[in-house]
Symmetry: C2
Subunit: 412 residues, 2 copies
């Protein structure tokens, strides 16, 4: 039975969803539990209802949209991704997996064949770390990699807690979000590559074998302020200059790593008092560091820590090092990859095995059930920016392969 | 006739003024034309009215409070400073000069002696560069060092103009703010040192002979964003890392300068998109650089510019260098300094000649008339921070010396 996703509808829905944004097009901004995030959730549930699919939310706002199988007692197959977006991001990160997944469910339903297992589409809460500094909030709680107690400690930059911010539609206690292993028989996530390799190689599909191990940490530098004109250079304890040195050390540690996949990024910098004529007394950095090779990553992190301490000692700065997360890598399921590979070949889609340097909800789903990811190319590898772009052809091939793979897994 | 400022009243007024703040005590925050700035102006005018002194405002909000002399046709003597405060500053910067000046006027009036010339207390608008990035807005316009046209181009971070923001009490066109040379016969500003030298030497009074030459500039770095996990290190054009290198180069240039008084500070850093998992595509730095030696300062600035260009070329970053201001130093009037020195000795106040590394409205008043500054010690040299502090004794000595100096100059 051929599965034929309605690509025109899928593209139109991607457009509709992109329009729900705190910044004007082409930028997309949907921060967790902002008005836009809540509007996007409502919009997605309306699309599910239109398609005749049941949906529910858990206590952290993960949404579950179900296509029932012949035997609803069997662990379902799941797919999904996220719809939240960092400030001034693009229209394809996460959304291709959610709306491509919805289209796959509709295509399977339209085919007339009812699979053995149910298929669930999951929209995960806050894959992006924008609000609380921690990524994959929804899937992390589902996998038990973040406990409900730890989640209750999270605060946003306005010191508001997850408990305060989660809307009434998030029912139950945060403890109830965690799932037991075996809840799902398989999980497959469709996503744009967010890197340049597929486009460069002219390939349609990337079959992800491994997801890099992410770590993130927050550094607070406390020095001594004062008037920019009056305090002579040798008497200063400038918190920002220590932070600047550490940011450069992060870059150097990634460049010097024994693994070619090590990446380190200082994406958040805040300085107080933040006046042109005042010496910074406080600085905050948030740093993201990842690798497919856990040993290489952790060796680089240890070197960064040594250097940060040496820099701060030399400059008379107090350093507070706070881990946000430090996760192991995930290995994708070879069975799922074989199923996807077979279908890709049958459909005439060119493909390759690859690694994911970005992390995704799949990193945590892999702790609950056999998991794999399907990548499609995106222009220049650009992501997290307004000019992020995946072609209609790429999206169609991704959604089609996802539909065939899900149907096959649901009949297993 | 002995002049006896009422130190209890002066300290009480400093306390009242400090309470008009956007941040809770001990922090003081009064940004130009904020609710707090406007409230502080109103409060000051009420104190002047209580003392029976006439007051007026010019078109940029500089306030003038007058003690009439015997011959109102003669150019008056002036004193003054500012009441605006950067975020989380202290209670003494500027305010000691304004309220000490008010107390000096009241002490002269109370003495029963009417001086030959009128004495004007000036509260200058926005000595701090917080809102528009440029310091000494009021005195700069008075001296013609900033034209009305240039002032009309200024925008704050919300893109609002000076025209939009100045309140109705600022009467007339901005052109009318500029004064002709000789409007005043002399100007004397009382100020806390904002450096540690007087306290370290155990001295009461600093007689300022020279004010360092300030320069300020804004650098915009444009690179290329992307996902922190997916873009490998060699392919990055990270705007923040270029900015971090430039901030360190600014520090090094100040340290390497041939003049011991060179100071360079990067006080403002903003990065976009500002998310932990995104490579910074844009960065902005605001840098303050000063010296008493104009040649040493400009040589260091030229070296910073060369280095910034080399850093940005190497990193593939586009650099936009925008001057905010670049002012020559000011030399204080030896006649006024002699008058002040004679009184200091007579009053039994220990004193020294010194330079001001911070700039003040005196830098611009020196272009209009003979000018000098009187410094009093402040704890540890701290300024622009909540724990800024000058002792009651130091403030009393400063206000007393100011009163004697003004009366003497007003009888000349």
């Amino acid at each position: 039975m051929p599965l034929t996703p309605d690509i025109a509808r899928l593209l139109d829905e991607l457009k509709q969803l992109a329009a729900i944004s705190a910044h004007p097009a082409p930028a997309v901004t949907r921060v967790l539990f902002s008005g836009e995030d809540l509007a996007a959730r409502k919009w997605l549930l309306a699309r599910a209802a239109e398609a005749g699919l049941e949906s529910r939310a858990d206590a952290v706002g993960n949404l579950f949209i179900t296509l029932p199988g012949l035997d609803p007692e069997l662990p379902p197959v799941a797919t999904g991704s996220h719809t939240d977006a960092i400030p001034n991001a693009g229209a394809y990160d996460g959304t291709v997996g959610v709306l491509g997944g919805l289209e796959a469910l509709r295509a399977i339903a339209a085919s007339g064949e009812t699979p053995r297992r149910s298929i669930e589409l999951i929209m995960f809460t806050a894959e992006e770390p924008t609000r609380f500094g921690i990524g994959c909030l929804g899937s992390r709680l589902m996998a038990g990699s973040l406990t409900a107690d730890e989640a209750c400690q999270l605060r946003d930059s306005d010191d508001r807690s997850l408990e305060q911010l989660r809307p009434e539609t998030c029912e139950g206690d945060l403890e109830s979000v965690q799932l037991r292993e075996g809840t799902y028989s398989a999980f497959v996530e469709l996503h744009i590559e967010q890197g340049p390799e597929l486009e460069k190689a002219g390939l349609d599909i990337g079959l992800v074998e491994k997801i890099a191990a992410p770590a993130a940490f927050r550094l607070r530098f406390t020095g001594s302020g004062g008037h920019a004109g009056a305090v002579l250079m040798p008497h200063r304890r400038d918190a920002f200059l220590a932070a600047a040195e550490v940011a450069l050390a992060v870059e150097q540690a990634a460049l010097d790593s024994s693994s070619p996949d090590t990446v380190g990024t200082t994406g958040v910098i805040e300085v107080k008092p933040g006046a042109i004529n005042s010496i910074p007394c406080d600085a905050l950095l948030e740093i993201d560091f990842r690798d497919t090779d856990l040993d290489a990553r952790d060796a680089a992190l240890a070197s960064i820590r040594d250097q940060a301490e040496a820099i701060c000692t030399r400059r008379g700065i107090e350093l507070d090092w706070q881990w946000i997360n430090s996760d192991p890598p995930a290995t994708c399921d070879s069975g799922i990859l074989s199923v996807a590979e077979t279908h890709a070949t049958a459909l005439g889609f060119s493909h390759t095995r690859m690694i994911s340097r970005a992390y995704h909800d799949s990193l945590f789903m892999a702790r609950l059930c056999p998991t794999a990811m399907l990548f499609i190319p995106c222009r220049e590898g650009w992501s997290h920016r307004p000019d992020e772009y995946a072609s209609p052809e790429a999206i169609e091939k991704g959604a089609t392969l996802l539909a065939h793979t899900l149907l096959d897994l649901a009949n297993a």
